[in-house]
Symmetry: C2
Subunit: 509 residues, 2 copies
């Protein structure tokens, strides 16, 4: 790369690294959607080889030299957000990654990789049998390893070890701030849920229980997501056990969903959710592909995009004004008994429950808070792994008012910890808050926004999100992006007003 400046050379290396990583991403997608069962052994060899190659390249000392040379040229040295020129933003983010990766000893990286691979397997068995004892030694080992990881990375200034972990998913989020944000949110959500239960009229869910052929459901969700703006010339929709979005490049973004013949609205919500992620990935600036400026800024912002489409659009009355008259084309007369109002109310039932991924819009964040409290205490060393089930069950009683009958429906329900993902859960709740605040800003900017939904028009919303969120990639940290797009720090007000306004109407209280 003779004759190139340090920055150009850095970006060239980074783009090549990204190409390699994107191959691993495709293999992961294929494994969940296409791969026959017999392929698993060879697939794990492929994944492990690629991960090794990518790690080798990501920690190449050459990158460290180039980063220093860029910084000597004044790129990326100011605090986050203070210098949003493309090269500065890229250098700042690449420096962060390089430091994170190179601070971890190779032995720890490989022990984490091996342990999480085995632990996922053990977790799946333990969950099947609702046998926490089987998973316990693995979780103990994982907690030790992630604490060691946090120690190697080092706590950010004024922060604690857990903060070093969350930085990988939501840079700059701090446990202390999240507690301040979550505590009043939890109280007000609980009060709202209580109010709906005691003073409201629970809508019936019959609309979502009608049996509908799966191929018609698939045609319907394709139609809706295409109308939202998910571009099928640059994406796909497939089926998998758990819905997800896999993006390797704005030109090739793949979402998945799942169907049950008697849960059409769940499939619709899931697919709109993943399409929201997908529209974000498709909207990242292609000229920056393979560099931080071409990547989603954080998991919280990513989740805001999925939640916004799933909840603020897909669970709105205006959306159902448009959507309900479309149903006949896909399902014949099967849903004729349900008018707009009945459909709209059915998708807005609130019901404290045991399983996070099945939770409704209002209770979802409470599920997240349970996990946040537990993992924080685990990382702090204030909770023994052996006490996780009891703590879990107590928090579910306290936050959601439900009794957990067994660990399968309790602390064994999520895969995350077995993958070593500590610091990840809170991003789901942040996604809800960002979604509400962004949507409120979009409504202010586009006064007839909901009228547009009622006509099946979503392009103005998509364009607003594209301009204020997608196009920036990682140019601004999440908090700064939020300030620029909404004019305010992230808070819980927009989310709480949205929920209470809507749900009081739905529950007629």
């Amino acid at each position: 790369m003779a004759g190139m400046g340090a920055y150009d050379e850095l970006i060239e290396l980074q783009r090549r690294l990204h190409v390699l990583e994107s191959v691993g991403e495709l293999l992961a997608w294929d494994q969940e959607t296409m791969m026959p069962a017999g392929g698993i052994e060879h697939r794990s060899r492929q994944m492990s080889l690629l991960a090794g190659l990518a790690h080798e390249r990501a920690t190449d000392p050459k990158i460290g030299e180039l980063l220093s040379a860029c910084e000597d040229d004044g790129l990326g040295t100011g605090p986050s957000g203070s210098d949003d020129r493309a090269p500065s933003a890229n250098v700042r983010e690449l420096r962060r990654r390089y430091d994170r990766l190179t601070k971890l000893p190779a032995a720890l990286v490989s022990e984490l990789a091996e342990t999480t691979s085995l632990a996922q397997h053990e977790w799946a068995r333990a969950r099947e049998r609702s046998d926490f004892g089987r998973f316990r030694p693995w979780l103990e080992k994982l907690v030790r390893l992630v604490r060691r990881k946090a120690e190697c990375i080092g706590s950010p200034e004024g922060g604690e070890p857990w903060d070093a972990l969350v930085d990988a998913y939501e840079f700059g989020a701090r446990a202390a701030d999240l507690r301040v944000l979550f505590a009043p949110l939890r109280e007000r959500l609980s009060a709202l849920i209580d109010e709906l239960r005691t003073r409201g009229t629970r809508p019936d869910r019959a609309f979502n229980a009608v049996k509908l052929p799966i191929d018609r459901q698939e045609a319907f969700v394709r139609f809706v997501t295409e109308r939202m703006g998910f571009d099928y010339a640059r994406g796909r929709l497939d089926r998998s056990a758990h819905p997800f979005c896999s993006g390797t490049h704005p030109g090739d973004v793949r979402i998945t969903t799942r169907f049950r013949d008697d849960l059409m609205c769940d499939a619709l919500g899931s697919t709109m959710h993943e399409a929201g992620h997908g529209i974000y990935e498709q909207g990242l600036p292609p000229e920056h592909a393979g560099t931080p400026l071409g990547e989603a800024v954080s998991l919280g912002i990513h989740e805001s995009q999925s939640r916004l489409w799933e909840n603020h659009v897909g669970r709105s009355l205006a959306f159902w004004r448009w959507c309900q008259p479309q149903l006949g084309r896909f399902f014949g007369s099967a849903l004729d008994a349900f008018d707009v109002e009945r459909a709209y109310r059915a998708v807005n039932v609130v019901e404290p429950s045991l399983i996070r991924v099945e939770a409704d819009e209002a209770t979802y964040s409470l599920h997240v808070m349970v996990r946040f409290e537990i993992e924080l205490d685990l990382v702090r060393g204030e909770l023994e792994v052996a006490d996780v089930p009891a703590r879990w069950n107590a928090l579910y009683r306290d936050y959601l008012g439900v009794e957990v009958p067994d660990d399968r429906q309790g602390c064994l329900q999520d895969v995350h910890w077995s993958c070593g993902l500590f610091g990840y859960f809170p991003t789901y709740a942040l996604g809800n808050l960002y979604a509400a605040q962004l949507f409120a800003a979009a409504e202010r900017a586009i006064p007839d926004l909901t009228e547009q939904f009622a006509r099946g028009e979503f392009a103005a919303l998509a364009a607003w999100l594209g301009e204020h969120v997608h196009a920036h990639g990682m140019r601004y940290p999440a908090g700064e992006l939020c300030r620029r797009a909404t004019g305010a720090e992230l808070g819980a007000e927009a989310y709480l007003s949205h929920l209470s306004d809507k749900l009081r109407g739905v529950y007629r209280c």
Copy 2:
């Protein structure tokens, strides 16, 4: 890899190289079956990066050192077939590959890669417009490059430059031998085709023209290929513009097919063909996966497996005795008018035509011979690229008795030359000959073989092929494999007897 012997170290490097190559294979499969149009640009970056990494590893001087150390230990130094111990066979084949690759200058490899990539694009445009002039400069450049490639590799002893090219696909095949094999074959095929035309009764094709829903066709071909022994727990069937088989490991083998509502038998034949390739890949010994002993021996033998299932099974009367009564389950009463005899005769129509991939069992090899003659003369420098269309058309007149109306249906129909694949075509005709000779041997070994087909039983055939072909991987060269499995050198007798016996019956002459 301290403490490992040279052979173990060589195999370890080879297995890692294979894992990398298998990722490229999966990307190629995905590109043809799943990738949205918008993914092409990023995909080509992924493919090119992986190809570069694989080439770097395949030509690592370390491999040369390890090969020499193995050879010093007496592994793989005898002539092919003289030493069939696993390590010797692996070392022999890896030596061949390493020498081939390292003899090519990096500049030539990269010029070939770049030229074929552009030439394929130009070929597609030229074919669309039937404009040979557009493709001509590319073909001229490709001929120059492959002649240079043949020169770098060097002609095998007693051979000519084209032989250096064919060695990559069918090791040991020689242009001179093929001419000796093909000339009488061509005369006898022409005589047979003539006899059918002038003295036989052409069966009607109505059976294959009945319009049948594509989802039913798909269910039907899945049923048949599963019955053949293609294992869907270790494989998939998808759709693509051109059917193909992609195998990365015996546990993950993917075949594709295509459907038209009025060509069910074509889809059946294509799918059985690809499933034949797939059963070979699934039958390779998993303990040798990633090494030559775990790979198909040659393209000719690979094609023999597909042709055997497609033609010797799928176009046999016994097969239709079993198959015809199954049709109602898939197609209702749509095919009730066709009894076993009518179905069987319909799939055995012989008709000289213009397009190789649509050719019937008897004329197929003649299409191949046209290409063989032309590419041989191009590589020898005895034919100018500008004269290819005239030569092509003259050979079609001479061999098949058909007039070529335009280059789209003539010398522009195949992609191969634009990919730099010279020496590849004859393997298709060799596949026909190997198939017939192997099938005749299987019939001798399993006296009631066709009665088994009539009962829908194919396991004995699959097991015989597994034992005599699949399980060996590259332990023996193709010719030696043929001698061991059939007791004789490859010849045309079995193929000609099979065709003339069957087709005289079908044509009642």
